[in-house]
Symmetry: C2
């Protein structure tokens, strides 16, 4: 594993996080690039709430995308990137403003095509799950 990529420089503070991660309040709790697993924290802001006062589902989708993406990106070499081509989200419970935990994993790590999965929890309960397909490309 190449610890000199943009991703790892960001994780250990050598580079600032991207804007989308700041917006979602992303913090890395645990990254195991060998096993392809990740645990991250998000903060659902008041700006994400729908008319009923719950987090709009799309922002939960953004969090799940930002859980699965880094699980894969942690395994990439310098000059590689992996755009998501498909994201499928299942919504189970409403989520409130505040802390959410994302748990992601690489289900299949192909040379190009990768299959990913993740859960999003609040207060220990699953609020949404997702699968995604990403394709590894070279810059």
């Amino acid at each position: 594993m190449d610890k000199n990529t943009f991703f790892w420089k960001m994780v250990d503070g050598r580079l600032p996080p991207p804007e989308c991660a700041k917006t979602l309040g992303l913090k890395f709790l645990d990254i195991d690039a060998e096993r392809g697993t990740i645990e991250v924290e998000f903060q659902a802001a008041p700006q994400f709430l729908n008319p009923v006062g719950n987090v709009q589902g799309g922002f939960l989708a953004a969090m799940l995308d930002d859980t699965m993406g880094p699980a894969l990106v942690a395994t990439l070499g310098d000059g590689e990137f992996a755009p998501t081509v498909n994201l499928n989200v299942q919504f189970h419970r409403p989520a409130r403003e505040g802390q959410l935990i994302g748990k992601g994993r690489i289900v299949l790590r192909g040379r190009e095509v990768c299959q990913l999965a993740a859960e999003l929890l609040q207060d220990g309960k699953i609020v949404a799950t997702a699968t995604a397909t990403a394709v590894i490309r070279k810059v």
Copy 2:
């Protein structure tokens, strides 16, 4: 159609938009509740950008959710709501900061289960498409 619901009050300015809509820069361009179609505008903010400087896919998912959701909500009666239970997004092209157009429609309007579809365009080109399932509930 009941034009005295929260949704229509919001559309004609009698009530403020929800926070998630403000965050995504949502404006309603056209709503045809009889045909079940909608056209909306979004503004991708710098806060949505990924490390490569494109809009993070999850925020495109949030926009598609906020295209399809209103297409259905426009047809609901007072006291009815319709949480999304599944959202499937296909990403076709990178999207930049700035204006995006969402075009959504109700594919199937069941008494409870509804199937929705939408496209998201930038500069006339499709950047992402989605389907969703929503279920009508009464408060």
